[in-house]
Amino acid sequence: MNILMMALVVGVLFATGTYLILRRRPIRLILGLGLLSHGVNLLLFSLGGAERGLPPIVVDKAAFTGDISGFVDPLPQALILTAIVIGFGVTAFTVVLVNRRHALAEEAVADVPVVASRKVVDPFAPMEHYSGGLDADPDDYEWLEYSVSDELSRARQRIHEHAAADAQLDEPTGSGKANNMNEESD
């Protein structure tokens, strides 16, 4: 009866956790991750023999016959302790990530004069509305902007000016472009 109840609770935790992970809201994601790791902790706990009142250590070693049915296995509890710490660390890190994403999203909304909409992302919508997927999306190279100053944009602008000038001067050959570029950039 006891073990059946444990099994049911573990099952419910796993099912709820899985359901919550599949939701779109970040807070549900975090709760789902927490429930999943607690589900597996409880699973480990029930494997140690979830009997009330049994001791986990052999006190009277001389009288010990090798029959372990009167004891609870202490090892799973040690394992759970480790698993709880790890799960806590990962969950805390996820909270930080979600928080950071929220902050970045607010910055982005503040920059752009468009009111953020609650439009649901439709995976079957035409591609021009959909910035994800395999195409190069602008997010991809944001890590670069971290180390790039406006020097690069000025260099880019110079190149385009030169290219435009070259195009006017020697339209047919076009070989001057590459030379100019080398002088500019190297």
Binding site: L43, F93, D140, E142
Partner: protein, 525 residues
């Protein structure tokens, strides 16, 4: 030759202590911390590589080295064990880290000062520990150590793309970890032990349903970590987001830990399932190769292409594992050896390719193939172009490189086993890999330049050029050496494969006992 088993603790202890120590530098003097951390990391990585080479020499003569922590007998204490496969992987990990350090010094931006080197050392500790762990729970713990450091490395800098990629990466890896932990717990509940040698002894006593459950759960958990066919999607959605140094480090080390765990558990714990599920493993391998390479052909930035190529290449190693499920012992051993040989080739070449791809992106501050931002680098950066060419050829499996020999051995093994479908798929994927590499070459190095080279790009200064290109060139030289003098390398892989498939030897080396000895005395007397 005898070697003290205490050496086995060194690959875990060295990175851990140096990482902890170098974290203190940020408190001491924030301005010079990065430099001190860098020097300390160089010492740690050098020592780690030396110990790994020592273990390699010892184990490749056919020995296993076992350390029972604290002198506790096998199933009660913590077992640390190294055999040929472990030592090969430790050495390759050490090599990758040694190549990564000068590359990181040459290319990193402000992120260098955000405790990059301690994180790198913690990751190294997790990877080494996972290879050395002799029981399922410690394998789980070291997996978590390496994942935690990889989470932080992936999001170091905190840009929006990184955070989005990081959330996907964290969630999917956490789910895989939960499944792994559940499998470890169920194994303990059903068999009363977590020590892998002890599990291998007891697993035939378990009901078939329990065995299938454990094998299935571990297969799902490890395939997710190794980015195999249906569970690979976390990799291409996160690996292109961090700094190229981080991508190269991950591409060389992380998925291989999953592959190692699959190799170890299926040969040691579930040898019957290795035979029974051979067609399943080969199907997974074939689909992983195909989807990976098709993704690489469809992807439109340099590092996305290379991320998909990681997936495609991982499929070849699983193909080796699948071929080890042959009922004929010689063929099984040959298949396993081919898989391990491919692992050696892959860790060297994939890291080199990701490094050179990252360096290319840093030169023009873009990797987009669609917007034609890359291009014309062959005239402007000839050394980079030559290195990229060799690395791409090695990945595609062209003759003078290690890629050719490793693909050839897998193909030979598949044909000897009569698995013609997987042989055909591996050939097709090899050809498609060449196409995707040619695409990168065409967009990146041929054509007219449309973008300037950024003034402070790593290859602009002489020191940056040396720091960035020398480690890549060294790795490619190793790849060419493996390709031209493949006999000793294949012999070592065969030794490792025989050791991996020799379950009795592993169990005897660990020697798990069922007798309980109490600490403290009176029960003994």
């Amino acid at each position: 030759m005898t070697l003290s088993p205490n050496w086995l603790a060194a690959p875990i202890v060295i990175p851990m202590l140096t990482a902890a120590l170098s974290l203190a530098f940020t408190r001491w003097n924030r301005r010079t911390a990065a430099k001190r951390q860098r020097n300390l990391a160089a010492i740690a990585i050098g020592l780690n590589l030396l110990v790994a080479l020592l273990l390699l020499v010892y184990t490749l003569s056919g020995n296993r080295l076992v350390l029972q922590m604290g002198g506790w007998a096998a199933p009660f204490g913590i077992t640390v064990i190294a055999d040929g496969l472990t030592a090969i992987l430790l050495t390759l990990t050490g090599l990758v880290a040694a190549a990564m350090l000068p590359f990181a010094v040459g290319t990193l931006d402000q992120r260098e000062r955000m405790s990059f080197y301690p994180l790198m050392l913690f990751l190294l500790m997790g990877v080494n520990g996972a290879y050395l762990a002799g029981d399922l729970f410690n394998l789980y713990v070291f997996f978590e150590v390496l994942l935690m450091s990889s989470f932080v490395l992936l999001t170091l800098g905190g840009q929006a793309g990184q955070i989005n990629g990081g959330i996907r990466y964290v969630v999917l890896n956490l789910v895989a970890s939960v499944l792994f932990l559940a499998a470890a717990g169920l194994a303990y509940g059903a068999l009363g032990t977590l020590n892998m040698a002890h599990l291998a002894l007891r697993i035939p006593q378990a009901p078939v349903a329990v065995q299938t459950l454990l094998a299935g759960l571990l297969l799902i958990a490890f395939s997710s970590k190794a980015a195999l066919f249906p569970l690979f999607f976390w990799l291409p959605s996160s690996y292109h987001t961090p700094h190229p140094v981080v991508t190269a480090f991950f591409g060389g080390l992380l998925t291989k830990v999953g592959i190692y765990a699959l190799f170890r558990t299926f040969t040691l714990l579930f040898p019957l399932y290795l035979v029974e599920w051979q067609s399943l493993l080969l199907t997974i391998a074939g689909l992983t190769m195909l989807t990976g390479v098709l993704g690489a052909l469809a992807a439109n930035t340099m590092r996305r292409v290379l991320s998909f190529q990681i997936i495609s290449q991982v499929g070849y190693m699983v193909m080796g594992l699948g071929l080890a499920g042959s009922s004929d012992a010689t063929l099984a051993s040959f298949g396993m050896a081919a898989g391990i040989f491919y692992l050696i080739h892959h860790m060297v070449v994939e890291v080199a390719l990701l490094m050179v791809g990252g360096a290319t992106e840093l030169e023009v501050m873009s990797g987009s193939l669609l917007q034609r931002r890359l291009g014309g680098l062959m005239g402007r950066r000839p050394a980079l172009a030559v290195i990229f060419f060799v690395a791409a050829f090695a990945l595609a499996g062209m003759p003078p490189t290690s890629g050719f020999v490793s693909k050839l051995s897998l193909l030979q093994s598949a044909l000897q086993n009569g698995n013609y479908v997987i042989a055909g798929v591996s050939l097709l994927v090899g050809a498609l890999t060449l196409v995707s590499m040619a695409r990168l070459w065409q967009h990146g190095f041929w054509g007219k330049a449309t973008e300037p080279i950024y003034p402070t790009a790593p290859l602009s200064s002489v020191s940056g050029r040396w720091l960035t290109l020398t480690p890549i060139a060294a790795l490619l030289t190793l790849s060419l050496t493996i390709g031209l003098y493949s006999a000793p390398f294949f012999r070592w892989s065969s030794t490792a494969a025989q050791q991996v498939l020799d379950r009795e030897g592993y169990i005897q080396a660990v020697a798990p006992t069922d007798e309980i000895h109490f600490m403290g005395g009176e029960a003994h007397d």
